[in-house]
């Protein structure tokens, strides 16, 4: 589904990604871990098409299309979803209104009829149940005055609404207590199918107790330096990142 080859990217003069290679197939969950500043969030942003980053080299193919050639909104319409680490506030725009605009623009881009209010609400109610979110939250201005947990849960609700092929969760666990973490993870697990894939970007192993990855990759200095199964995450949890750094230094 997603094939990243030798991806290099910079912000300003600073090169952050130094040749990433990654293959993600439908139905898989990949965890990307690494110490602070290793380029995890940059990778997520580059895949979503954030302008601040410049791709220097490399290729990214998503379902047979050149992802890097696509505008951010077209990537979203093709099924790439980013759950933001810091979701922004949009005053005066409710999550409901925001999602209705998004869903209908996506439908329109596929040449389909927009949903009327009734069918939209029906779908919304189903998804609300799925991710255990209250409608009062969705009536409020998007992310305005939301707690950390509410913001992240709202991201997962949006993911449920848009049914992406590839979901990238950027440090979705940051700022969450264990209860909130469980709720969010539970929501993500319910959205997993054989035909979609998830990339979980995280600093800590604890989220992976609840979202079980098929593969774990360690990102360091803008490169994937080690890949393994969920046992690698446990090892990192126990030993920290220093041994990886040492291994890289030796190599």
């Amino acid at each position: 589904m997603l094939s990243i080859k030798n991806l290099q990217a910079k912000i300003g003069d600073k090169q952050i990604l130094n040749g990433i290679n990654l293959e993600v197939k439908a139905g898989e969950v990949h965890a990307i871990m690494g110490p602070n500043g290793s380029g995890k969030s940059t990778l997520a942003s580059v895949l979503a098409g954030r302008e601040d980053y410049e791709v220097v080299q490399g290729e990214v193919e998503f379902q047979g299309q050149n992802l890097l050639d696509m505008a951010p909104e077209d990537r979203a319409r093709a099924g790439v979803f980013l759950a933001f680490q810091y979701p922004v506030e949009i005053p005066g725009v409710s999550t409901i209104n925001f999602m209705k605009t998004a869903v209908n623009q996506i439908l329109k881009s596929r040449g389909q009829q927009p949903l009327d209010a009734v069918s939209f609400l029906k779908i919304m109610k189903e998804k609300m149940k799925l991710v255990d979110i209250d409608q009062s939250l969705l009536n409020r201005s998007l992310n305005e005055g939301f707690s950390g947990g509410e913001k992240k849960r709202n991201e997962i609700f949006q993911m449920a609404m848009l049914e992406p092929k590839l979901a990238i969760l950027d440090e979705t666990d940051s700022g969450l207590d264990i209860d909130a973490l469980k709720i969010v993870a539970h929501g993500v697990n319910k959205l997993r199918t054989k035909s979609n894939a998830v990339i979980v970007v995280t600093h800590y192993q604890r989220l992976l107790d609840y979202i079980i990855p098929d593969f774990v990759h360690v990102l360091y200095k803008g490169k994937i330096v080690k890949s393994g199964t969920k046992d690698l995450a446990l090892e990192l949890e126990a030993k920290g990142y220093d041994w990886i750094k040492d291994e890289v230094a030796v190599a």
């Binding site: 979503a48 098409g49 954030r50 302008e51 505008a71 951010p72 909104e73 990537r75 979203a76 319409r77 979803f81 980013l82 933001f84 979701p87 922004v88 949009i90 005053p91 005066g92 725009v93 209104n97 925001f98 999602m99 209705k100 605009t101 998004a102 209908n104 623009q105 996506i106 881009s109 201005s141 949006q158 848009l162």
Partner: protein, 481 residues
């Protein structure tokens, strides 16, 4: 230039939709302003002697006044002798019904989306349509008359209800109130008049639609609304003008007089021609709007969506004379390209337990300058007065300016006055968040702007809210979700 700036650039360079002209034969006064011209207008309108005297008095006072220089706007000096003060579409006789109206006129209004044919109208709105200097038609008059509501052109009111006009005209905005109000009093040509009798709740929105058509013509209309005890009316005002290279002057006066427990809601969607993207042409809009909450428990509410005009100078105000009376002002002012707006409100608290609320949302794009100017005055004898003001500015791009000039003047210790102000920019983060959800940039901007202005748009009557949203979307383009 970042991408959202580029999109804004494209959006804001969009052409003005109502810029066409109608080919109407007109009957005009010669250029210039003098006592003779005022006599000419008065004669044309077949006015009683007292009104001519009133005009001449206003003219003499105006001659002694100076054009204000305190607003945060700049424009070349206006040559008041180079303007035409009276222009009317030629009509053979006074139209008795719609069949008698020049079809070109009906076409003009239909092009604006205003049908003067009552049976064709879907929503219950009574319209007074004013083109250049005269009112051409007022719809639903008979229905309203059954309730004792008078809704007609100002000229007609002068003929049919002189006692009401004489009593209330100038009672809220005195002749010598300010330079432009005095000019209006001297040369006003038409406008709307509305009287709601005691205890009557007006069953439909009343609306005046203003259109400037003729070239080199100033439009000076006057609106007077009198709400008797315990009555209620919601009033709408819309305006457009053709695209012309030269600037056109619009100096209107609106007076609202609310008696005990009366409520008046006045909404404006101002879409005068703003000039082209280089700042050429456009309407100079110098308007005095004021409401007097004369009776106890009365309420006047102003809502305005300002997207047009090269220059906007306008401060819809409330004088809260009655005890427990209430004044509100909700405003969205959008400026683009080289537009300049100096707008806000005045709330003068005289009675006890009077309340006022000001919510102003400025949006500046392009090279425009957008200023909020507001005054809250609590007089010595006003016990327990309350005011809340909120002035927000939204900036788009880095060439525009937003300014806030609040004046707060409290003479009574029991008053509580709050003022909040914020300035923000549409963030690239906000735009990117929308893009990532599949929303294109245009729609993202419209979504964010409408969210920002929501508190004000919510105050508009349903029929108007849609038009206002469309207008915001058109001014900054993008579909509204």
């Amino acid at each position: 230039m970042s991408k959202d700036n580029q999109v804004l650039e494209e959006l804001t360079s969009k052409e003005y939709e109502h810029g066409w002209t109608s080919d109407l034969e007109t009957d005009s006064a010669p250029k210039g302003l003098s006592e003779d011209i005022i006599r000419f207008i008065s004669t044309k309108k077949n006015e009683p002697e007292w009104l001519l005297d009133w005009r001449l008095d206003a003219y003499r006072q105006w001659s002694k006044l100076k054009e204000p220089t305190w607003p945060n706007i700049s424009y070349p000096a206006i040559n008041y002798q180079d303007l035409i003060y009276y222009s009317a579409p030629k009509q053979k006789a006074k139209p008795k019904n719609l069949e008698d109206i020049d079809p070109e006129l009906i076409k003009t209004f239909e092009k604006l989306g205003i049908s003067l044919t009552e049976q064709k109208r879907l929503t219950g709105i009574a319209v007074d349509a004013v083109i250049d200097s005269v009112s051409v038609a007022t719809t639903y008059k008979d229905t309203l008359a059954e309730l004792g509501i008078i809704f007609c052109s100002f000229s007609e009111a002068v003929q049919e209800h002189p006692e009401l006009v004489k009593k209330y005209m100038g009672s809220v905005v005195p002749v010598n109130d300010n330079y432009f109000a005095a000019l209006n009093a001297a040369v006003f040509t038409d406008g709307s008049f509305c009287y709601i009798p005691k205890g009557v709740r007006c069953p439909m929105e009343l609306s005046t639609y203003f259109r400037i058509n003729a070239a080199n013509t100033g439009q000076f209309e006057r609106t007077l609304i009198v709400a008797d005890e315990g009555s209620y009316v919601s009033y709408l005002e819309g305006c457009t003008a053709p695209m012309r290279d030269e600037n056109q002057l619009h100096a209107a006066v609106v007076e609202i007089y609310a008696m005990k427990d009366a409520q008046v809601k006045y909404s404006t969607v101002q879409n005068w021609y703003p000039g082209d993207k280089n700042g050429k042409g456009g309407i100079y809009n110098f308007v005095t709007k004021r409401g007097l909450c004369f009776g106890d428990g009365s309420k006047i509410s102003w809502t305005q969506v300002e997207t047009g005009s090269a220059i906007t100078w306008k401060y819809p105000s409330c004088i809260l004379k009655g005890n427990n009376s209430m004044g509100e002002f909700y405003s969205v002012a959008v400026t683009n390209n080289y537009q300049q707006a100096d707008t806000g409100s005045k709330m003068i608290h005289i009675g006890n337990n009077t309340k006022s609320r000001i919510v102003s949302k400025g949006i500046s794009a392009g090279h425009s300058q957008n200023s909020y100017r507001g005054q809250v005055k609590i007089m010595k004898r006003a016990e327990n007065a309350r005011n809340f003001s909120q002035c927000d500015s939204l900036l788009m791009g880095d060439q525009c300016g937003a300014h806030t000039f609040p004046y707060i003047d409290v003479e009574n210790k029991s008053a509580r006055v709050e003022h909040e102000a914020t300035t923000s920019k549409i963030g690239e983060d906000q735009i990117f968040y929308c893009l990532q959800r599949g929303i294109d940039e245009e729609s993202a901007v419209a979504l964010i702007v409408n969210g920002y202005a929501k508190e004000v748009l919510n105050q508009l009557p349903m029929e108007f809210a849609v038009e206002a949203q469309k207008l915001l979307a058109l001014t900054l383009e993008g579909s509204v979700g």
